[in-house]
């Protein structure tokens, strides 16, 4: 099968959907002629023109507010924030407006709005361009949250997100955009709220998403040589959350670690860990383990950042401790 980069797979499905549905348009900073800082929209401006692929001013709150206003009056906008960190500038529009619009109307207003958010550290971009803020939005009822980890997944999940009649935030790790993978040419959709067991194992379950899927798989590969059999689950979507797949795996392995790049305290791992405790406490042979970035802003210097973010070695070491305890 042909291979595409993550960025190309995303552009492919957006282009296909824009071709089919004239109400879809794209807006964000440098998404037009420039094609997006990470190639998030490469070639779309040339294909669809200025009206449907719109460069905006540096006005994040307005980007989201305008997209919302268009979404509730007959359009299906895709709005892009250049970095997750910039979500802070649009918080009122996302949390108070987008997430609540339908509910506050008593279910009379539909909000078909996709917000694409490149994010993530490990680019030596320091504290204001590296954050993983997904837990804030998981904590906000009214939003659906996806975090695809591969070119195949991003194409299928974005298709679903574009077709949704609800607001969706897609967190896309910047380090993934240039990674390659097999992507079918045909149009396909992946449902939200369906996790995937990326690697089966008997000894311990590792639950993760986004870039950390790859680190966890590498760690699992290494551990298998030491006789430790790790099951790795890619959540793919954080809301809705496929807790059934998680619980089934925990019941099988009786040990579980949750790994994310977001800082540890108050992260998505805390929620998932607690859900496991509520649903499968009797099956646990060891405490639920969380592995996340250390609780400091992301530092710049490479040895500092590498110390703060979970590495393959750190993930492997923590899993080993759990299995050998």
């Amino acid at each position: 099968m042909r291979e595409l980069t993550y960025a190309e797979a995303a552009v492919e499905v957006i282009g296909e959907e824009m071709e089919k549905d004239g109400t879809i348009f794209y807006m964000g900073e440098d998404v037009g002629r420039f094609g997006g800082v990470y190639g998030t929209t490469k070639g779309l401006w040339e294909r669809f023109g200025e009206d449907r692929v719109k460069d905006t001013p540096l006005s994040e709150a307005a980007i989201i507010g305008y997209a919302l206003g268009a979404a509730i009056t007959g359009m299906r906008p895709i709005a892009e924030m250049m970095f997750a960190d910039l979500l802070c500038l649009a918080m009122d529009q996302i949390v108070n407006q987008v997430a609540k619009m339908r509910y506050m109307s008593g279910g009379k207003i539909k909000v078909p709005l996709l917000i694409r958010v490149p994010l993530g550290g490990l680019r030596r971009a320091a504290a204001q361009h590296s954050q993983h803020l997904e837990s804030w939005f998981v904590h906000t009822p009214g939003l659906k949250i996806i975090a695809p980890s591969s070119p195949y997944d991003v194409k299928g999940l974005l298709k679903t997100a574009i077709e949704e009649n609800n607001p969706v935030i897609s967190f896309e790790h910047i380090m993934l955009y240039q990674t390659k993978g097999e992507v079918p040419e045909e149009n396909y959709a992946l449902p939200m709220g369906q996790a995937e067991v990326k690697r089966e194992g008997r000894d311990v379950t590792v639950i993760t998403y986004s870039l950390m899927v790859h680190r966890c798989l590498s760690a699992a590969g290494k551990l298998s040589k030491e006789g430790i059999d790790v099951e790795v689950i890619d959540l793919k979507s954080l809301f809705p959350l496929d807790i059934e797949t998680v619980i089934a795996s925990v019941k099988k392995t009786n040990k579980v670690a949750i790994v994310h790049q977001a800082s540890l305290t108050g992260g998505v791992g805390a929620e998932i860990g607690m859900r496991i405790v509520e649903a499968a406490f009797d099956y646990l042979d060891s405490p639920v383990k969380r592995i996340g970035s250390l609780d400091v802003p992301v530092p710049f210097s490479p040895p500092l950042e590498d110390f703060v973010v979970p590495t393959e070695e750190k993930i492997a070491a923590e899993i080993k401790k759990m299995v050998r305890r």
Binding site: R102, S105, G106, P141
Partner: protein
């Protein structure tokens, strides 16, 4: 500009409907019947009616926390409004929104909004949608002198101007952001003067004069429909009541009683009424007839709200997502 007699009477009637609705809301709130927060539009009726009377049925408005007047002007059913204020199932939002969140997308009301200034980009987005769909509606964003000091005012108006969108930004300047007079926190006295920063036209009008407002709005609507972009309309007005019902005597701690009395003498309804009587469009007996008719409507709305059931508590879990919540 000459308005038909029917149109003028309709405008007058709407102003009276807003006033009487608000008076009833205040009464019910003080009696402890209505839960929650209520921000009354009393004194500002000319703004909503003056602006909305220049719009068509399919045009959009985005309203504020002080939104009852905008909704009534746009044609909301006051029975459903009252039921919503009671928290009843038959209300506009099935009891999920309340006073600050009434919306009726079918008649272009994109929602009242509890966050000051937040509707500016939402109206802008509706205008973007209009332009992309190639239709000829316009959108209106209402906000106050308080909203004009939010950062989103700048982002929202700049973008509408840059893209020449069919939207009208209406600052209903009642001079107080809760207790803080505009002059204490705003460097210029006319919010409308900011229009020049965005390269758009402005109108600064007497917010107690419904015909002056209607005229300014008509000009802005024409401008927008011709594809020339947004206008900033500032209406200088005054709220006759506190920021919210329940503020009571505290309202006199931040504004002089004489100031309040001075503005009350300029009541927009009395002014319009005497103009219409002078022009022989309205008579005292017709005014009485209208007043009685609206009293009846309000009574009916209260009865409807009172007799309506509360939502089942379980309904709190409905309406989060289209097709129901997945979790």
């Amino acid at each position: 500009m000459k308005l038909e007699k029917e149109k003028l009477l309709e405008m007058y009637e709407k102003m009276v409907r807003i006033r009487k609705f608000e008076v009833k809301v205040e009464e019910l709130h003080i009696q402890g019947i209505l839960p929650g927060l209520k921000h009354l539009y009393i004194g500002e009726e000319a703004v909503a009616v003056g602006i909305v009377s220049a719009l068509g049925e399919n045009d959009y408005i985005a309203s504020t926390h002080r939104g009852h007047g905008h909704c009534i002007a746009k044609g909301s059913d006051i029975k459903k409004m009252m039921a919503e204020l009671y928290g009843k199932k038959t209300g506009y939002c099935k009891g999920k929104g309340g006073s600050m969140h009434i919306s009726d997308i079918e008649i272009g009301i994109l929602g009242a909004n509890g966050i000051v200034g937040a509707n500016i980009p939402i109206a802008g987005g509706a205008a973007l949608s209009i332009k992309l769909r190639g239709s000829d509606e316009v959108a209106v964003s209402f906000f106050g002198d308080g909203g004009a000091n939010e950062g989103i005012f700048h982002e929202g108006i700049n973008l509408a101007s840059a893209w020449r969108l069919p939207v009208i930004f209406v600052c209903e300047n009642n001079q107080y952001a809760i207790s803080t007079h505009q002059s204490r926190v705003t460097a210029i006295s006319n919010i409308g003067d900011r229009a020049s920063s965005y390269g758009i036209p402005k109108s600064i009008v007497d917010g107690m004069d419904v015909l002056a407002i209607h005229q300014a709005a008509s000009k802005a609507v024409k401008w927008a429909r011709e594809g020339k972009g947004p206008t900033l309309v500032e209406c200088k007005t005054y709220r006759f009541k506190g920021h919210y019902v329940g503020e009571g005597s505290r309202e006199l701690s931040y504004r002089p009683e004489e100031e309040l009395e001075e503005w009350k003498k300029r009541c927009p309804i009395e002014k319009f009424e005497s103009e219409l009587i002078e022009k022989n469009i309205l008579t005292c007996s017709l005014a009485k007839k209208i007043s009685d008719k609206i009293d009846g409507e309000i009574e009916e709305a209260v009865k409807f709200a009172e007799e309506s059931p509360y939502p089942d508590p379980q309904e709190a879990l409905d309406d989060l997502f289209f097709e129901g919540a997945l979790r």
